[in-house]
Amino acid sequence: MEIKKIKLTDLLKLDSIFDIFDYQYSTTEIEKSLQKNSLPWEITGIITLVSKDLYPPIPVSNNIIIWGFTLLRLSKAISKEYLLCRILGEQTPVEMITTALSMENRAGKYSMEEQARLFKLMGNLKIQLDLKETKKITPLITGHFDPNWTKRIQQYTKFSPPLKSLVDNNLIDYKTALKVQDLPPEIFTLLDTDKLSFSERRIVLNLFYEIVKRDKLESSRAIEEFFSIIRSKNPLRVAKRKRFPKLSEMEEEYRALKGKYLKGKGIEIELPDHFEGDKITAKFSFKSKEEFQTRIKELENLRDRIDEFFKILR
């Protein structure tokens, strides 16, 4: 292993198949910002370090640049003449991947898209992770040993582009995406909205998926149905009502009874949570003996109606 100064023009001719990680600014963007003297502060700092040769040497093996593409872009933008490189001996594909991931040092922070590119690169390099290699490489990607990493990435690559986009932009979690992936892709385009929080979006999608499966909705009908949910004032409530029609009906019935018998009477009747149980609670308050007497009279009137509330539980 030796450290060598290599001309930038020569470096740019080398193989760049390892250029798979996201970067914030392209060379053109940096060049434009340099002209306007409006570089983001974090880039200014790195440029200073690069110009003083204070950076980790770029690993190169077999004419392949293994890591350091951001440094290359910056150097190109500031017209640096050469870069320090560490020339590695013959490396196996797994060793090269390990080096790239170790130098990138972002375990647990790679986007799914980056992981998919990494997976594709592994395929191009004919790497098939066995248990030993999985134990070595996956902690560098996800932060822990993940025996299902390959399977997960393979599944992700099959997602439709709008679903991938939701996952990549952290609008839904991978687990939900996996569950609902066979929904028509149009549905995912309708979810790119601020109307729902992350958690609401996840719940709505899960509920909707179960509605589609239960009612065996065909694609066009599913899209129509989802449209009616997402365009409603309260998508979460509408989705719940459609997914749980019996419970919703019971809630309606309960609400109707309360409206019919309790409105303006100063008495509350509470049924147990989820209508599970056999105890009904009556609540009231009063400020005077007279008011107390009125409540008692109202309760007496309610006695003949109370079976209608019990009926919901039986």
């Binding site: 998926y209 239960r214 749980f244 209508f275 599970e276």
Partner: protein, 360 residues
């Protein structure tokens, strides 16, 4: 049925712990499947990781208590059943089975050291001579799926036969009962069959015996002098549930003519599941009904629906078998009141079933 072939196809390897290598049930098993490789190991933890699955049979002796109370469910009434875990794990593969969510990475375990079990059960029965002791081996596995391979149940039935208060139940979804028909002293042994409509068995109960195979087995067992029990558990709620479950009861009475006096009890339990089961399985149609979380954190059908199901099935059973003990498994006080009008300890036919045994 060629059991040698059946079991040889089920298992790739048998691990036997040192302490039971010469046990007679182990020897029985060796004769049934001579061609399946066998390895002697020090203890259960010596099974290599690559064999921690249901294609492996582990023969061992139990650790800890051999007789336990049914774990029950918080906030639900338990029938105080006692369990003996002889057969742990099951390869039938019911899609709704709770074991799918926690026994996936375990071999099928058979505990062949049964002398201590017999001793313990007899002691409990004698200390509770005024109570009915209901005990079974079907809590964490099927009681009869592997029994023809080890022939353990026969000895347990005979050992408990003289005790009038022991009701030893073998609960199954198979029809593997023929090896037990010749047992001479049966006492109060009960052969229990879990029942579901053919449409559910076909779609959800893996390699279990068909409904009519089970009912035929029930008939044979009943004619051989066994008590029979039926478990409508889990009951599923779907479009034609009412007709389908009623048809089973019709068959028991009309087609198989199983007499009331040979039926020890019938239990009912609607489908319920722990939250992680739904996450671990591909989405099954039965998950698409409406469920609510119960006090024990399991999901159950809405109380009103459960009550309706139980009332309907109960009244249909009572139509043919008016004096039969019928009870519900893991239900709340509220549902007991909705269905029976009272709690189980207030119902004479099932009062004894719900009384706690002491000293377990």
């Amino acid at each position: 049925m060629n059991f040698s072939k059946f079991y040889a196809e089920q298992f790739d390897i048998v691990y036997i712990t040192e302490d039971v290598k010469n046990n007679r049930y182990t020897n029985f098993m060796k004769k049934i499947i001579p061609e399946v490789p066998k390895r002697i190991i020090k203890d259960k933890s010596s099974v290599p990781q690559e064999h921690l699955n249901s294609r492996t049979l582990l023969v061992s002796s139990p650790r800890g208590k051999t007789v336990n109370r049914c774990p029950g469910s918080r906030g639900h009434i338990c029938c105080n059943y006692l369990t003996v875990d002889l057969y742990v794990g099951c390869t039938i593969g019911c899609s709704y089975c709770i074991m799918q969510s926690y026994l996936n990475f375990s071999p099928i375990i058979v505990y062949v050291e049964v002398e201590s079990v017999i001793e313990r059960v007899l002691k409990i029965a004698r200390n509770n001579s005024n109570r009915q002791i209901r005990i079974g081996t079907g809590e964490v596995g099927d009681s009869l799926l592997y029994d023809p391979l080890f022939n353990i149940s026969r000895d347990l039935i005979e050992a408990f036969a003289e005790e009038k208060n022991i009701y030893f139940e073998l609960k199954t979804k198979t029809n593997f009962i023929d090896h037990l028909l010749t047992v001479e002293r049966k006492g109060n042994a009960v052969i229990g069959f879990s029942l579901n409509p053919p449409v559910i068995i076909q779609s959800e109960e893996g390699s279990a015996a068909g409904l009519y195979e089970r009912l035929e087995a029930a008939k044979r067992a009943s004619e051989a002098g066994y008590l029979i029990s039926f478990h409508f558990d889990p009951i599923f709620y779907y479009d034609t549930w009412e007709t389908d479950y009623k048809r089973i009861i019709d068959s028991i009475y009309h087609t198989y003519r199983i007499p009331e006096e040979t039926i020890a009890w019938i239990s009912m339990g609607t489908f319920r599941y722990p939250p992680d089961l739904k996450d671990k399985l591909p989405l099954r149609e039965f998950f698409l009904e409406e469920f609510i979380p119960s006090k024990d954190k399991k999901y159950r059908y809405i109380q009103k629906i459960r009550s309706r199901i139980y009332r309907s099935i109960k009244s249909y059973i009572k139509h043919y078998y008016p004096n039969l003990p019928i009870y519900m498994c893991m239900e709340s006080d509220a549902v007991w009141h909705n269905v029976f009008g009272k709690l189980p300890t207030e119902i004479p036919e099932i009062h004894d079933i719900f009384i706690h045994a002491e000293g377990v």
